[in-house]
Amino acid sequence: MKLATKIGLIAGVVSIYFPVVGITERFDDRTIIDGVLTLGSTIFLVIALAAGYVVAKPRHLPGEEPEPPGPSALLYGAVASGIAGVMAGLFVLLADSVDLRTVLISVTGTLIERLSFGGSAGSAVVIMAVGGAALGALGAGLQLISQSIRRPLVIALGAALLISLTEPLLNAVIPEVLSKLGLKDDTSWLYTGGGLSVTGAILVLVLTFVGVFAWTSRGERVRQAYAGRSNRDRRLIKGGALLLLALFMAYLPQILTSFLSEILGTVGLYILLGLGLNIVVGYAGLLDLGYVAFLAVGSYSTALFVSERSSLGWTLPYWQVVPLTIVIATVIGIMIGGPVLRLRGDYLAIVTLGFGEIARVIVQSDWASPTLGGAQGILGVTAPEVFGVDLREPRNLYYVILISVILVAFISWRLSRSRVGRAWNAMREDEQVAEAMGVSIIGYKLLAFGTGAALGSLSGMFFAIKLGSVFPSSFNLLVSINVLALIILGGMGSIPGVIVGAFVLVGLPELLREFGEFRLLIFGIVLVSLMLLKPEGLIPSRRRKMELHADELEEEQYDDSAGQGGAEPVVT
């Protein structure tokens, strides 16, 4: 009961938090199920369900058998979410009687009206308390049903939410596909009013539930069959799957609107950046918070050499600009890296962050503006023809980016399983031991830094061409953090992880434009919860997983700082 109260209070605070910062009101514009549910109310539903679910979770001491939750769990769940509901209701009552708006700008009349469900604020308390309790009991009830049903159910709910949120994407793609297949391009069976229709929601829920249910019972056999295959077969299957994926990506622009192609291009750029930084952070273990500097170097040098309106007064053909830019970026990377790479891990982070800021401040300054254009940037970066392909055409640019991504991913993959990659890994794990085995630390750090710089500048080039101009404001710290976060989200050192991370962190928010100023807030929540719950990322490399979950086992032998640049390995 004490636990129920505690969780109820936390859930109450959380459910007040969302309306107070303005998320609820904003998200109410977004339909999840047409005429039934908005995203704003979904948040309340999820909080209430989750509170009940957590309270009812069986608790046990290590080594003891968990006791299956009994019917009393329902009561506890109801109490927890009921408390949350009462708190939210009291908040509405408070907001209704006192004008909070002078301080808390998001507590508007509309918000209060909505939270009162059209009735009086007093009735809101009752509705929220009762509704909360009911949902809490429902959430607790999830614990009572068997795992084999619960899992598909939860996944189905998640899938419905996801499919509804990606409506702008899917609702543009599906009609195209349907008409290509010779069917009627009508999607009203799935989507209405910017979200799932009622029939669509039921369809998605049922299909996902059945699908997942079947997979959990059958999937094991498929997996075993795959594992039973010979190494060569497995490689063939993997290669075939990758080829299919590449072909699909190549076909994609044909069915996408130009807005979506644009987003795909942006995601591609971030994948390139991610792959580059992955070498620096994931392989070599050097925490670089100023990676945006290389994006800037790539963009600006491309703009300088390509734009007729740049301060140089002359231009170079594009095929010469590419290698030149890469060389410039690598040299700058090594020049920056040289003096700072001997620093301990955290110091390196802050110094690279400093370099990132320096890059932005310099390009923005009046001092550099005769050359770099100051705050106005450099305009007129004409996308030139390369081998007869006009890069001005967004679709062509998409293909060039796609090819670059494949190429860079291939290089990353080759590197990871080479002598160089092993040296980087060894260095990341234990710098001093790697050195004792003959790895030249400074040399390999510079190599990683230089490679990262070269790859970062590559995306910078595309960036300049894509926008047709460069502005200093594009190169802020947030880009560095974004790239770092997508690597971590996907799983450090993992190439598929980078790709998935880029889609999730860059692609999704682009689709969820309505979230506007709350994107970063949600981004922050995602980062924190990911680190707390699954620090190895979504698609971890095997190494990383080991590193993060073996410490219980290893504690007595491995100093936790030993893996991070040998800061103070207290080892004799």
Binding site: I358, S365, I525
Partner: protein, 352 residues
């Protein structure tokens, strides 16, 4: 047989010496050109110095939070800038209310005390929550993990306060007794600047005494040395860590109000740059070291106040003040190259 080894002339060392010489030359040339130019009067220099000192005191105050936490947990509490912002931003509404009722200028000292109290309360709460939610579960994880969490928490807090209080830049009300200037050793110091410098100095000294003289302070140092042994010695490690965050938060809250008094405005983004600068200051002075952080803060503030004019004017750089961040970060890089432990830190090579 006994003889001294010949000095080792490695490439690194030669590069270092050349770099140092080049640096000295550049600085010398710029400074002498500026002085020969005579564009700035003595009064102008003095005003730059006071501005720099006020800024530096604020950096020093915020840097305490970084250096204390780093000294104990060895993590960069990247969200500390937001802790600072939260207090200042919240106190704004109190200040506005006080101003509207006229109380602010009737009882300025009580008012400032109230503002400090509110700001410190909010910042401390945020700092403690931060520790409890974002850092405690991650103790013992590889260092990258809490750093990422810190970045996430920083974004979260920034945008939460934006959602709560809005994105507008808010003008802090003027406090009448703090307008005007006083003359100290022929330096014309704004009364608000004086309050900032004196307040920060007082708080830093108090902190220093607290850490050196009290039992809690000793416990903090012990936990910084070795958490496990401290726990065996009967120190409640969790409590000490929370205390550390709370103290850092308190000082950041105080810095928030002083910052607002000095710069007269607040917004949700105000914590970001001072946060980074304060961390830079802590590293500059030798992180983990309270005196070092204070020193680093002052140096950084002075550099930002004086160096753009002193160094860059000599090179005819237009609007040198735009480049002040470049100077402060460059100084950090150079200090770390020549003295990797920071100004007051130790340079012992890593143990094998």
């Amino acid at each position: 047989m006994r003889f001294a080894l010949p000095e080792r002339w490695s490439v690194q060392r030669i590069v270092k010496i050349l770099l140092g010489a080049l640096l000295l030359f550049v600085v010398f040339k710029g400074v002498s050109a500026t002085i020969a130019d005579g564009k700035f009067t003595a009064a102008a220099w003095k005003s730059l110095i006071t501005t720099g000192l006020a800024l530096g005191s604020l950096y020093a105050l915020i840097a305490m939070g970084y250096t204390l936490v780093y000294g104990i947990l060895f993590i960069i509490n990247f969200a500390h800038g937001e802790v600072f912002m939260s207090g200042a931003f919240t106190a704004f509404f109190v200040a506005r209310t006080l101003n509207n009722s006229g109380f602010l200028n009737d009882q300025p000292i009580i008012s400032i005390a109230i503002l400090l109290l509110v700001s410190m309360l909010v910042s401390t709460t945020i700092a403690i929550l931060l520790e409890r939610i974002a850092y405690r579960p991650l103790r013992g994880a590889p260092r990258l993990v809490p750093l990422i969490t810190a970045i996430g928490a920083s974004l979260f807090l920034q945008n939460t306060f934006r959602g709560l209080y809005g994105a507008k830049v808010r003008a802090y009300p003027e406090i009448d007794i703090l307008s005007g200037t006083v003359n100290i050793f022929s330096f014309v110091v704004g009364k608000d600047q004086l309050l900032v410098i004196a307040g920060a100095a007082l708080l830093v000294v108090a902190l220093y005494l607290f850490i050196e003289r009290t039992k809690t302070g000793r416990a903090m140092r012990a936990v910084g040395e070795d958490k496990e042994i401290s726990a065996l010695m009967g120190i409640d490690v969790d409590k000490v860590i929370v205390t550390t965050f709370a103290i850092g938060g308190m000082l950041a809250g105080a810095a928030g109000v002083l910052w607002a008094i000095n710069f007269k405005q607040v917004d949700f983004y105000m914590g970001f740059l001072p946060g980074i600068k304060a961390f830079t200051a802590a590293v500059l002075g030798g992180i983990g070291n309270v005196v070092g952080a204070a020193l680093g803060g002052l140096i950084l503030g002075l550099l930002e106040g004086v160096a753009p004019a002193l160094l860059l004017t000599g090179y005819d750089v237009p609007s040198p003040n735009q480049l002040k961040d470049v100077i402060s970060f460059s100084v950090l890089v150079f200090v770390l190259i020549f003295k990797p432990g920071g100004i007051l830190g130790s340079d012992e090579p890593d143990k094998v």
